[in-house]
Amino acid sequence: MGETLAEAFALIGALDREVVAIAGLSLQVSLAAVALAGLIGLPLGALVAVARFPGRGAAIAVLNALMGLPPVVVGLVIYLLLSRSGPLGALGLLFTPGAMILAQAVLVTPVVAALTRQVVEDADRELGETLRSLRLSLPQRVRVLLFDARFSLVVAGLAAFGRAVSEVGAVLVVGGNIAGHTRTMTTAISLETQKGDLPLALALGIVLIALVLAVNAAASALRAYSMRAYG
């Protein structure tokens, strides 16, 4: 165990090119997935928070439940859609980073939407009456409330990023864990552990945790700074 750990740190210290490339891909795929999820999840969550429509309670329950989507199942569905004979087969995305981004985006969009719904609903409780008295339209109110809640929404992004970067199932199924092409931190850790290269697996694990910490620290620092500026 001690020897493995020492070797792992040696690998990190040497900035092993393979480790760096794998970490880079993981970061790229998961950040792109979170960005895509934000594009859909932020307005969707805010709309559910502000609008009143029949079946709203059920919609919220479904949205919250979808946060627990099993990654492997999402991977399987995206696999079927992207496979040569599937409806999106012509795109030729299967076993590319694009497919991995798509799968992770599907996985974390409910996370962004559900947390946004909660955060924006709280903001609406505080500002909703004012905004309606200013005769802002529903889309305008959604925009203003998203802007007002932007510091709290950082947490939704972080939760989504955490889920995306740490999952194995979806990226493994649609990416295929191809060395130098679709191999991410999590799929590599899984593979190296099975192959018995424990130092490399551990090195990757340490880098993954460090990455998650770094992203969270950066986001929290940004949030604290802007909150101090805007109250």
Partner: protein
């Protein structure tokens, strides 16, 4: 009060306010099997400032929201002269300023969003509104960083930026200190003098005496008494008004 205003004739009257006469007719709002607004009727014909007073739960805030259109009555109507609600610009200011986590100027610009004005016109109107409340040099500051009194003045600037015919104020100074209260009162009085019709809900009877020309006393979702501010504050007729004003006097005597 409507009779007084009519017999006062044309002298010294500012341009007719398109929101007047404001007529509330048989308004009813039911909540939890109970009429919280119970066939409320009220006619306000005079310009200037009209105060709605009465105990907690009388329906004052709901009445303001009904006038604004924020709340729809279960029955009854709100009419503005011969205009429809759409033709009358209304603005509502709450006890809590309701500011967005953004700059001071951005908060005022919010009120102009529905008007779809060009960028320069928005900037000019924002500056003019901030000037009216004495916050022009704070335009770039963060709204939530202002003091409580400044935040409420900003809320007033936002309301005035649309140049409303009707300004509805729901206890605008209830959480402010005396100096901030005076600043808000001056802004409201200026707006009324410039021709905006103001309807004020306040528990501060000193404030009502300072600002209002006429008063309606509400109790249990109805108007129980209406008249000039002077006569109602000095000699309330109805039991409800006597109890409310009598109970309030020692309290307001503490404020100058």
């Amino acid at each position: 009060m409507s009779a007084d205003a009519r017999t006062a004739g044309p002298r010294a009257e500012p341009a007719a306010n398109p929101a007047l006469p404001l007529v509330l007719d048989g308004l009813t709002v039911r909540a939890g099997g109970r009429a919280v607004i119970d066939g409320l009727s009220l006619t306000v014909a005079s310009p200037g400032i009209t105060a709605l007073i009465g105990p907690n739960g009388a329906g004052k805030s709901l009445t303001l929201r009904l006038i604004d259109g924020l709340l729809r009555p279960d029955s009854g109507t709100v009419r503005f002269g011969d205009r429809t609600a759409r033709q009358v610009r209304r603005a509502l200011v709450f006890q809590r300023p309701g500011l967005v986590r953004a700059g001071v100027a951005q908060n005022v610009a919010l009120a102009l969003m529905p008007l779809g004005l060009p960028r320069r016109a928005v900037a000019e109107r924002v500056e003019a509104a901030l000037q009216r409340v004495g916050l022009r040099d704070r335009a770039r500051d963060a709204a939530r960083k202002l003091s409580g009194g400044e935040q409420q003045r900003l809320s007033l600037a936002r309301a005035l930026a649309t140049e409303p015919d009707l300004l509805l104020l729901d206890e605008p100074t209830a959480s402010l200190d005396p100096a901030a209260t005076e600043a808000v009162e001056r802004i409201v009085a200026d707006a009324a003098a410039a021709g905006t019709k103001v309807v004020l809900v306040s528990h501060n009877l000193g404030q009502v005496a300072r600002l209002a020309t006429d008063v309606a006393v509400l109790a249990r979702g109805r108007v129980v008494e209406q008249g000039s501010a002077r006569s109602i504050l000095a000699a309330p007729q109805s039991g409800e008004a006597r109890a409310y004003i009598g109970g309030e006097w020692p309290w307001t005597a503490l404020t100058p």
